[in-house]
């Protein structure tokens, strides 16, 4: 299976109240060295054949992300269950 992962994040200049709420909750866990938290969305697209990055980019641009407020990045990953995130 060919898997493409799309990460969608709010643009830096767009306020992320969800992220702020999480950041504000961290001191309750005893965590006090976090400057900021931003929340995004990860979408996994499994193609039938070879991963089609152009098609994935089109999907991301037209539907998965709203370019007015969000940026996205695309990468191909191994779709095995224990796959290692290519970014980590």
């Amino acid at each position: 299976m060919a898997r493409v992962v799309v990460d969608v994040m709010l643009k830096p200049e767009i306020l992320d109240p969800q992220g702020q709420a999480v950041a504000n909750a961290l001191p309750r866990l005893g965590v006090d060295d976090v400057a900021s938290v931003r929340i995004g969305r990860r979408i996994e697209i499994d193609f039938v054949g070879e991963p089609d990055l152009d098609r994935a980019r089109e999907i991301a641009d037209k539907l998965l992300a709203n370019p007015v407020i969000e940026d996205f990045s695309i990468r191909v990953v191994d779709a095995e269950p224990d796959a290692v995130d290519s970014r980590s």
């Binding site: 969800q18 539907l63 709203n66 007015v68 407020i69």
Partner: protein
């Protein structure tokens, strides 16, 4: 001839019934349209009602934009069909790029439901010609993702071209930039508004009758429009 005003029902629409009722109270004929049917049944105008189309999945309005009815509405709006998007309808219009900017999560994260004062700032649209410029109206607002955002250039352009249709007065309920509650496109035939004029059309259920003006405006606009 009675004006035929279409009201689209998406899966998850909530206020389509109230919107159709508001059209009737204003003197128009409400025509129910279905999200999955591209046929607009010859309507003279369209209202996209509030609610949670497609469960607000992905982003509010993001899936509705690709509904067959919306494909027809986007094309017709570009040819001048009056389209009013209320709440979720406003979100759909932004997602469909008929209006600039986007609606995001309320800054304070709370769902806000209250009667809200608005100042009508543009009376040149198909939906606000029954008001006077600067008129204050009381209309319910109820949203969780009603914070209007756009880049500074877009906001400046909206202001400079008189396309801010209404602003929140007496407190901004969701953090919208520049207190924007409603905007219009360049031609003035497409309006998106976050508060709900269709909930302020009868003394029994609304805080005022101020919402009716948005619907009588459609009829006035159509009566004055060249055939």
């Amino acid at each position: 001839m009675t004006a035929r005003v279409g009201v689209v029902t998406f899966p998850g629409s909530l206020d389509d019934g109230d919107a159709a009722r508001a059209v009737r109270l204003a003197g128009g004929e409400a025509v129910r349209l279905w999200h999955n049917d591209p046929d607009l049944r010859g309507v003279d105008a369209v209202v996209l009602p509030g609610g949670f189309s497609y469960g607000d999945y992905l982003r509010c309005g993001a899936i509705a934009r690709f509904a067959p009815a919306m494909e027809s509405i986007v094309a017709a709006a570009r040819d001048g069909l009056p389209v009013l998007g209320i709440c979720n309808g406003f979100q759909i219009l932004c997602e469909a790029h008929l209006l600039p900017g986007a609606l995001t999560r309320n800054q304070h994260l709370h769902f806000r439901n209250r009667d809200q004062l608005l100042r009508i700032e543009s009376v040149d649209t198909a939906f606000t010609n029954s008001f006077t410029s600067g008129q204050e109206v009381l209309i319910p607002v109820k949203n969780g993702e009603g914070c209007y955002v756009a880049d500074e250039r877009t906001l400046d352009e909206l202001e400079a071209t008189g396309r801010v249709v209404a602003r929140y007065v007496g407190g901004n309920p969701n953090g919208s930039q520049r207190d924007i509650a409603a905007i219009t496109n360049e031609a003035g035939n497409v309006v998106g508004i976050m508060p709900h004029p269709e909930h302020a059309v009868e003394a029994l259920t609304g805080p005022s009758l101020d919402g009716l003006g948005f619907f009588t405006s459609i009829l006035k606009h159509l009566a004055g429009a060249p055939a």
